[in-house]
Amino acid sequence: MTDQTTDTRMDATRPRASAAHKSSGLLGLTGKDLGLFIIVALLTILAPFILNPFPEGSALAQFNGGYPDLMQRFVIFGIFAIGFNILFGLTGYLSFGHAAFLGVGSYAAIWMMKLLTLNVIPAIIMSIVFAGIFALVVGYISLRRSGIYFSILTLAFAQMSYALAYSVLTPITGGETGLQLKATDTPLLSNLGPTEIGRANFFGVDMRASYEMAIGDWLFTFNAGYYIAAVFMLLSFYLAIRLFRSPFGMMLRAVKSNQQRMNYTGLNSRPYTLAAFVISGMYAGLAGGLMVAMDTQVGPERMFWTASGEVVLMTILGGAGTLIGPVLGAGMIKYMENIVSKINDGILHQWFAFMPDGIEDFLVFVIHPFIGKGWHLTLGLLFMLVVIFLPGGLVEGGQRIASVFRRKETKTSTVEKSAAEQQQHSE
């Protein structure tokens, strides 16, 4: 018994092994990062199954999120939020104009499709390039200020872009109606019939092509567009992990922590913040390009300030500065936007049909403002709850739950230890 106590004590005082000396594992990721990446990859690949847990025709089928349109949104807004998090989560610079880069990427992509080829790859490359150049200009000017002034400058740029796309730049942007592929478009490298409207493809694979698999009452849809977007998302996520663990990522966190010390340590914080801004702008451009690749249309409302605000919400809701947080936040918001908004009073009446009439009507009356068009209210409440009780976002929520379980384990072990000590004293 005595031996056992000294053993545990030695364990407790033994210094923690340094984490820095691990050899590089698979893909240059180690430990937790590799695990996280594999989990995200599996979830993305199996999403058509995971998001469709309820059989077709059942009362709960409306909670199924496994249809192509929504799954594409999950990964595309995931990319948008991952990129935004590189700027906001690491450097602390809160941009309120990232939708502008999304929009620029979208316009660049649709023009590539109209003029050059209906293959999505050149369109996506151009969307990244154009968004990157635009981000360089906006970032160079906006990063002269920090804090609220930086946010206002980026907001001003985004609203300017929106207004220009809406009015003066109509020849390029299509104004209010936006741009879409038309029968009159004749891309250079695609052979279209005279009245045929082009469809986006990936080396011949139609982006809208889907394979449906029915197992019993369940119906799973595997969509080409989704999987192409998912590959881009996984690539973006992988590069973001590498960036987070790189010296560059450390410098960005140093910017957030103490920019003055950074400058007096011989580091120029300007190019670091500008690089982060351009990278996150390119992520937004990629997201914009992918949107066009999925539905081959774009309008100026994509650059409106609410779209910029949405990505801020996603990042904060999921957990700014964490790797997985932005993706979770994007998924959460897009799920609510598409699923909660679908629920109407009729469905509620169905759910509560088993209750007495008066109570049923009352419950429907109470829940009514939170569903359908009122989904923003639910989102707003959720956002407030997260910000007040979980400042680290959904990720912090997960960590707290995990730590509760861990505490239980350590508690039992300390109880054993003190019991053993007491016994030792009595001897």
Partner: protein, 252 residues
Amino acid sequence: MGILEVKNVGKRFGGLQALGDVNLSVKENTCHAIIGPNGAGKSTLLNCLIGKLIPDTGSVMFDGQSVLGRKPHEINQMGISRVFQTPEIFGDLSVFENVMIPCFAKRDGSFRMHAYESCDAETDIIAKAEAMLDEVNMLEKRNVVASSLSRGDKRRLEMAMCLSQKPKLLLLDEPTAGMARADTNNTIDLLKTIKAKGELTMCIIEHDMHVVFSLADRITVLAQGTPLVEDTPENIKGHPKVREAYLGEAEV
């Protein structure tokens, strides 16, 4: 010619003449202390040396080059590091990361785009940072978040950050302010070992005379923005002007 030559430097804040006409020459590999009562312009002088403030008149030459008009990060890259009066560290980062950053700045210059390499692969930086933390006895705290350190530890960390850059000139602004006696003595010992190596010049502002007299080779007494007298510690102790202006009110 000293490594640091301050000539006729003046700085005015509105109606207040913070620095009158300061001349200062610091010889290489010595420790030069600047003392003086509160408001004498000591911190203002240091701020002029690191580019935080630009003096209205005069010149500041370091290692044969002018410091004026350069940005703080450029001045640091010339070889001047500063320990601040209130510790300036990266509070959100771990102790180890705090020391790695200046090591990167020393090796890679003021900017380098290394977004794909892993920090864990930078073995030379890791080895340097470990050696530096060991030197200040903080290796066991390497994974602690810097903002949760005690004030004394924050100062030691900041000192380690500055020293890891192997600066030619180390500016110390009240390095022992608010420290317990034992911590102060540790700091003195640390600075003495560094000084004994003879690899860097130190310029120290300090109110604690025990620290000043155990480290300084020369002392400049500053009062109301102008140097009153500059001499060796022995002569300063007995100087009547100094006693009147400064030491008379403090115990030596």
